[in-house]
Symmetry: C2
Amino acid sequence: MPQVGGHRIVIVGGGFGGLACASKLGGAPVDVSLIDKRNHNLFQPLLYQIATAILSPADISEPLRRTLGKKRNIDVVMAEVVGIDAQRKAVLTRDGAPVEYDTLVIATGSVDNYLGHDEWKQHAPGLKTNRDARQVRETLLLAFERAELTLDPEERRKLLTFVIVGGGPTGVELAGAIAELGVFLLQRDFRNIAPKELNIILLEAGPGILSGFDEKLAQYALRRLEARGVDVRVNTPVEAIAAEEVTAGGEKIPTACVIWGAGVRATPVAEWLGVEPQRGGRVAVAPDLGAIGFEDIYVLGDAASVQGEGGPFPALAQVAKQQGQYLGRKLRLSAEGRHDDAPFRFRNRGITAVIGRNAAVFQSGRFKLTGRLAWWLWAIVHVYLLVNFEKRLLVSVQWIWTFLTGQRNARLIDDRS
Amino acid sequence: MPQVGGHRIVIVGGGFGGLACASKLGGAPVDVSLIDKRNHNLFQPLLYQIATAILSPADISEPLRRTLGKKRNIDVVMAEVVGIDAQRKAVLTRDGAPVEYDTLVIATGSVDNYLGHDEWKQHAPGLKTNRDARQVRETLLLAFERAELTLDPEERRKLLTFVIVGGGPTGVELAGAIAELGVFLLQRDFRNIAPKELNIILLEAGPGILSGFDEKLAQYALRRLEARGVDVRVNTPVEAIAAEEVTAGGEKIPTACVIWGAGVRATPVAEWLGVEPQRGGRVAVAPDLGAIGFEDIYVLGDAASVQGEGGPFPALAQVAKQQGQYLGRKLRLSAEGRHDDAPFRFRNRGITAVIGRNAAVFQSGRFKLTGRLAWWLWAIVHVYLLVNFEKRLLVSVQWIWTFLTGQRNARLIDDRS
């Protein structure tokens, strides 16, 4: 472990927030340890493109050591955190020794929220990790292969029915991408299935999809999804999910593929700290992100609920990233003996969702954009947000190829074990 | 199923041979079904680059439907073949209905040969599928992460010991690539391990590595491996493989990672056909690749042993590909009422193995090449052999990036389940 400055900052979580915080602390007179159960930072906004065979996991995953390797005061620890001993000032990990801290930053993000029905998870994976996305990709592609071979019309209908739960950006993007993939495959590559047999159902419990967006943009997205053949059902909460069957709006829907995109809840940080969780399981923090009731613990991103100063903020990558940058700078100044008591301020960069080729929505304050232009803006911004030139080039090549030919580079069903 | 010409050709296996055969039959007056348990053709010569985090599975895997989708007389069936009923003229699959044929082409290739010790497989995966390669990649990368954290010197030595069994091209390429990966990681990204702690052992039962190559080339490869720190042990057959331990040359070697590259044997085609297997489990075929004793069954590639006319041929991709092309053309002519009785002739394109950056060997007849030039030739030929422009571009970008920076794009440890 590095022993540069003596003061030891431990960051838990290498997502957008944790990594931004660590990066700001490179070269500062402190010892930093970044703990994550993964070895990589994952660009989650593009996970649905892994699930729909456009990109490969490596294209949106960057090893933490690669990002931080040259910052010699920062140490990466691959371990799963299972608790925090605030008395002893130590982070507890599953297999290894406790990691002691002087200052602790918690940036562990969120997990899929199954609304009290964790038993649904086995039948309806979410989309939070590469493993999830690969599993969805395999289920999708296998469903087409099996539908091509079966002679039983009911089995075939079930195999060609894809249910997506949740009409937020994740659900909308998935539904649009699956529709595009399916139509392409059935027109070009399969022999026994007609594109009209494809049955993609998007379930939303509330009165409309994309509830965080302006009503006009939501209406646009709805029209574009329906034009692609997606069956969008609003005011239709899921009642049950079993093997190969979803019940919603009183109807039993046989399906070989259910994907969960109906919201998230915070990782169990409140439990680790022994504090009362706020809405969504988040931990109350002051405007400087300090956990309320603690002197030396900060929480940021999806796990934090800022009290006052515009908070709590939505569970967005840009919030986590900005909070990580803010806190990294603050801790750096503090280590250098300078102090900055300014609270965190969120600069909203706008929100966006993509429905498919040439169709997206973008909204920033009163500025709204739909269609081809929004789609190009979405694509350029997302390429730019990737971590380095190599990934930008790889993703661009694959997007351009898909745009020109409709083909998908990663239509890969793993060898069966 | 397509019903174009009436005569039905079934090809089992979508590797180099089966796919080449199918491609030649596109548009011919026959119905073709290509059966494979995977949905993709895999460019096996680059699998070691998946295992060592340079490329992603999708970069070297091409969906069979993508290659054959536009050839409307060809149907792809994703199913696992478990036997052949030559009386009924049907291929038996694990889950689906039997697939009937008029003419059958078997191109199922080979599997790892554990020399009668199939129980070693669980501890020493081979390198035949994307799943294998991803498993090796994960084991390698996790070993470094765990070595970085452990305080126990014996555990650490075990974690940093990598054993590769077999000194053929696969073993040599793997050993070289692991050495390069390890040195790069330990110099740049890890804090607690010195590059000299890396312990890569290449075990070869025979008197020298690369036994298929000229002695001078083999000597060159040996020197280059040793210069990279690989401990090459010839005349050292493996005696036992258990969990985290290999016994070879009377020595017990503790190791967290053993990879099997000690040769292949044919898939059980001889058993399916009820014929006496030849050397390596292959099936005896005539110089026109017709299985001896059958009128309507052909076998090609690693599973075939050509009697006479220069055969049997080595288990190489170029042999399978050329045999597939030969047979596809022959069957096409036959379907068109023309016949060509010329036997298969192998045109040797040369053999090559790469040890690492700027180091490879190439041999074609009496022409021999080593070093930087052989490496560039190897790289250009392998990019050219990839299936389409998109994959060539993606692989080139990643190779150039790795060449310039030493970085690897796919240093990805999956989320633990």
